[in-house]
């Protein structure tokens, strides 16, 4: 059987950063890349099944939609034990949103036909939390989001998952396979990829695919296949806090006045 683990190379920001000239993204000079935090857990969950009872035949395939720099994250996954790594890219994907990325992943999933797909709940940079569920929608597969525990016997045609709900409650759900699950942080303890392992993984091939070659047509690629477009990125204005000076009585009077003003505005 096969588990597909879509991963993402995310960006973290320097404290002082600048926007790109077009104002729609951060200047790449100020980005530090890393593997999305959730993806450590999704890969670990796949590896846990692979290394657990009955998991001998499981193939773990990691895949990402991203430029060449994302190979580094795929190598980390190979170092941790993934069997195969795939990367899909076309320049047009630069402008893809979560839906646009999901379209590419869906094309890839059709080619690979995995038994399970483990995606992260969200990515640390854009925090859309949409890619996994969009993928399930496009593939028309059963899905469960924000999975905090997974009970699955390799080869069986259903899994029991515990979904994290609001307010600290959980829902236990039985789901038919193949299925798309988005996994929550803390579902397991991710392993460490030593630099030695990562270096050795550098010798292993990463299959690079063209989105078009996967059958994603131009009208579904990148901006064309996306449901949203970034208009502007900006740092919100700092809050308008002010100290109210004076005696306690004066302060109270001023405060009451401000509340009235805001009340009136609302």
């Amino acid at each position: 059987m096969k588990i597909l683990v879509p991963i993402k190379q995310v960006a973290t920001l320097d404290e002082d950063f600048e926007f790109r000239e077009d104002g729609r993204d951060i200047d790449p000079d100020f980005l530090i890349h890393d593997l999305n935090e959730w993806d450590n857990y999704t890969l670990e969950e796949a590896m846990r099944l692979k290394e657990g009872p009955g998991g001998e035949g499981i193939e773990v395939v990691v895949a990402t939609v991203g430029p060449e720099s994302a190979d580094e994250e795929l190598r980390k996954c190979l170092a941790k034990g993934a069997d195969r790594a795939l990367r899909v890219w076309s320049d047009a994907l630069e402008d893809a949103d979560a839906i646009g990325v999901a379209r590419v992943l869906a094309a890839l999933a059709r080619r690979e036909s995995p038994d399970l797909i483990f995606a992260g709940v969200q990515a640390t940079d854009h925090a859309c939390g949409a890619t996994g569920m969009a993928l399930a929608g496009l593939l028309d597969l059963p899905h469960a989001a924000v999975v905090a525990a997974l009970d699955y016997t390799p080869g069986s045609n259903s899994a029991t998952v515990r979904r994290e709900l609001e307010g600290g409650s959980y829902a236990s759900v039985r789901i038919d396979c193949p299925a798309v699950l988005t996994l929550q942080l803390g579902i397991n303890t991710p392993r460490y990829a030593s630099l030695r392992g990562i270096k050795q993984a550098a010798q292993r091939p990463i299959e690079v695919l063209d989105a078009e070659a996967l059958g994603v047509t131009a009208d579904a690629l990148g901006a064309a296949g996306s449901a949203s477009r970034v208009r502007r990125m900006y740092v919100p204005e700092k809050g308008r806090a002010q100290m109210i000076e004076g005696t306690p009585a004066e302060q109270a009077a001023r405060l009451a006045q401000i509340i009235k003003e805001f009340g009136g505005a609302a």
């Binding site: 320097d14 404290e15 392993r191 030593s194 030695r196 990562i198």
Partner: protein, 721 residues
């Protein structure tokens, strides 16, 4: 009475087998050869055990090492350190035993070879008489030394001889190591009985042969034997009785001595071979320059006992459980489940169990990691601060730190580590520093300075200052860095930095056991240094100092590098720096592990303090016995157990014992962080302050007028400014 002129020198000798029947002599030879046979077989088993380890790398310069070993053994230099009484007692035992062994060998050589080949014995006349005297004195030395060791074990009971283990619980099968206690006593008793029966045997021979003038009249050449003989005669023993006693005792004494020889390879007695061998293989940079890891190797670090080099396997057998490492270890002192001695003994027991059999057990049974008897816990390995206190004091050159790091490499590969450490390693991989700050912020501390610092990657400089993570990113240490930069700038030193080109030097990453990451960091720094023009490197960070100085050369980075203390000391001596305001503080100095023990930089900070007009009062543990702050070996990235007293707090108490102490001086950024924290948590805040030496230097160099208004009390404002 002591003259030999009256006797034919050929008759002035000692009877050997007189009164023995031929079968009895034959039996003795048989037993003797059997004992030697068992010894040889045991020796082979030991050699086979070592051969089951890995090759140890570079060829050894055996001749100088042999000479060095002889010097160490003969002077007992390593044995008298920090325990002079035990060292002296061991010296008595060693020389006593060695002389008696040489004497007995001489007799065997004379009787079985020389006398048969040359037709006459050389063990006669004056030679024999002096021989008797020397061996009698050797016997006294042996027994005297043994008696002290017995008193030490029985009455003095130093805590380091308590073998109970901090890494096991009462009730665990290997908790108290009582077997070793029994073996110690058996060893002492065996030797002392051999020595004592030797004297009684000598005395009974004298009484038995009292009618022979060449025996009796020369008896005082064996003063102890003669004294005992007088006592025997006084007690009414006659010649016949003495003869009977002699033949019984002869067999007992002989059998015991031969048993001891046969048991050498199997008991603690083997240290008489393994300890000198280990000393001969001593690597003076064992902890300073950790072994490289072959990048293509399938295996990582020490996973099984057969991954150990034969030299490390021999190290395990050299341990005499003296407890010097146990006593010196800061992890052990703070209640961590680690005693370097127990790691070595556990591994030794494991090696003996697994590698002494004819066939090697399955690979699964060779793993040294785990929770079983003889295996080493991962908590134990992660407790190590790699401060080198154990390696430094080990009298037989055991390499605890490299062994522990090799074992950690396996843990790192398996991800068996604290989550926080794992995160830090990932952070260092991502950003090149342990603070998780972006590269471009590395030189952020220079921004408030009123002058520009040169970028050594662009402009040639005399001095390249390698700053290190803590001095660059930690806000408290940034102040020190700014002070040092100002000092260099004011004195016109042509210096520069690598700015964001600098990465974590990797010293502690390597000691954590993440060799791949270390190589990456070292290669990055070496590439940056290679692209810069400078004459020498000066660093304010002892950790960076160690790895750049001792480990980078193996990766192609050979530089002239020094710690700032020696650099500043030279500036003071040359007059480039002038003390304008002698400080007069009562201070104590903490030797950073990586400057002191690792690189022997003990004197420069002390001379600086002297030049600054400080009154230096040493803590009990100083210089090579300095007590680690607890941050080394990556421990600064791991949480210490809650509740237990930390090494840094123990150190604060030690400093607190100094009457009227004003300043606790450090010269390492991590020390500043660790001890300023410990000062608060151990309740000494307000009593004295922790200062980086650079801060005292700056203060002493300042114009008197600018500090005239300040109180002389360092604890109040001058030092808290």
């Amino acid at each position: 009475m002591f003259a030999t002129e009256r006797f034919d020198p050929q008759h002035v000798t000692r009877i050997l087998f007189e009164g023995f029947s031929s079968p009895a002599i034959a039996l003795f030879y048989l037993v003797g050869f059997a004992a030697i046979g068992v010894f040889c077989w045991g020796t082979w088993v030991q050699i086979r055990k070592y051969r089951r380890g890995q090759p140890q790398g570079a060829a050894l310069a055996l001749v100088p090492r042999f000479i060095d070993m002889c010097r160490t053994v003969l002077t007992h230099r390593t044995l008298v350190r920090r325990d002079p009484a035990a060292g002296r007692a061991h010296r008595l035992i060693f020389f006593g035993f060695a002389l008696l062994f040489l004497g007995t060998s001489t007799i065997a050589l004379d009787y079985d070879v020389i006398a048969r080949v040359m037709g006459r014995s050389i063990w006669t006349g004056n030679f024999y008489l002096w021989f008797s005297l020397v061996l009698d004195l050797a016997g006294v030395a042996l027994i005297g030394g043994l008696l002290y060791m017995m008193a030490r074990r029985g009455w003095i009971k130093p805590p380091k001889l308590d073998y109970t283990r901090p890494d096991r619980q009462p009730g665990d099968p290997d908790y108290d190591r009582s077997f070793y206690r029994r073996e110690d006593w058996a060893f002492l008793w065996t030797l002392i009985v051999i020595g004592a029966t030797g004297f009684v045997l000598e005395a009974s021979r004298l009484v038995w042969l009292q009618a022979r003038p060449e025996v009796w009249e020369l008896r005082w050449w064996s003063p102890i034997g003669a004294g005992v003989a007088e006592a025997m005669r006084g007690a009414g023993l006659d010649a016949d009785g003495a003869g009977a006693l002699r033949s019984g005792l002869w067999w007992f004494h002989g059998a015991l001595a031969l048993t001891l020889i046969a048991l050498i390879p199997f008991t603690k007695v083997k240290h008489i071979v393994t300890a000198p061998a280990s000393l001969m293989l001593r690597n003076p940079l064992a902890a300073q320059r950790l072994p490289r890891q072959s990048p293509d190797s399938e295996r990582v670090g020490y996973s099984t006992i057969t991954d150990f080099t034969w030299k490390h396997l021999l190290n395990l057998d050299a341990c005499t459980k003296c407890g010097r490492c146990h006593e010196a270890c800061p992890a052990r002192a703070s209640g961590a489940p680690l005693s370097p001695r127990d790691v070595i003994l556990s591994l030794r027991e494991f090696a003996n169990e697994a590698l002494q059999k004819n066939a090697l057990p399955d690979e699964a049974k060779l793993s040294v990691h785990g929770k079983d008897v003889g295996q080493v816990f991962m908590e134990t390995l992660w407790s190590c601060r790699t401060c080198m206190a154990c390696v430094e004091i080990c009298p037989v050159a055991i390499e605890h730190v490299p062994i522990i790091v090799q074992m950690r490499r396996k843990l790192v590969e398996d991800g068996a580590m604290e989550p926080q450490l794992q995160k830090t390693l990932q952070t260092i991989h991502k950003t090149g520093n342990s603070f998780g700050e972006s590269k471009r912020k590395r030189a952020g501390w220079t921004k408030p300075l009123p002058f520009q610092i040169k970028d050594a990657r662009k402009d040639p400089v005399d001095v390249l200052w390698f700053v290190g993570d803590y001095a660059a990113f930690d806000p408290r240490n940034q102040k020190v860095s700014q002070a040092f930069a100002t000092l260099l700038h004011d004195k016109g030193v042509d210096f520069g930095l690598l700015f964001e080109g600098e990465s974590n030097a990797g010293n502690d990453v390597r000691r954590v056991g993440e060799e791949g990451l270390y190589e990456l960091l070292a290669e990055n720094n070496i590439a940056m240094l290679g692209a810069s023009t400078f004459k020498r490197i000066v660093t304010t960070d002892p950790h960076s100092f160690n790895t750049i100085r001792n480990e980078y050369p193996e990766f192609g980075g050979k530089y002239e590098i020094e710690h700032y203390t020696s650099f500043v000391q030279r500036m003071l001596e040359e007059g480039t720096l002038k003390v304008r305001r002698p400080l007069g503080y009562r201070v104590t100095l903490h030797d950073p592990c990586h400057l002191g023990r690792y690189n022997k930089g003990y004197d420069a900070p002390r001379r600086i303090l002297q030049a600054l007009g400080c009154e230096l009062v040493e803590m009990a543990r100083n210089r090579d016995n300095s007590f680690c702050c607890g941050a080394g070996g990556g421990r600064i990235w791991m949480p210490d157990p809650v509740g237990a007293e930390k090494p840094s707090q123990i150190r604060m108490r030690e400093a607190g014992d100094i009457e009227g102490l004003e300043v606790f001086v450090v010269c390492c950024p991590k020390d500043l962080t660790m001890f300023e924290d410990a000062l608060k948590t151990s309740g000494f805040e307000g009593r004295f302050v922790v200062r980086e030496l650079i801060e005292l230097i700056t203060e002493a160099l300042a114009e008197p007028a600018s500090v005239a208004g300040m109180a002389r009390e360092p604890a109040e404002d001058a030092l808290l400014a």
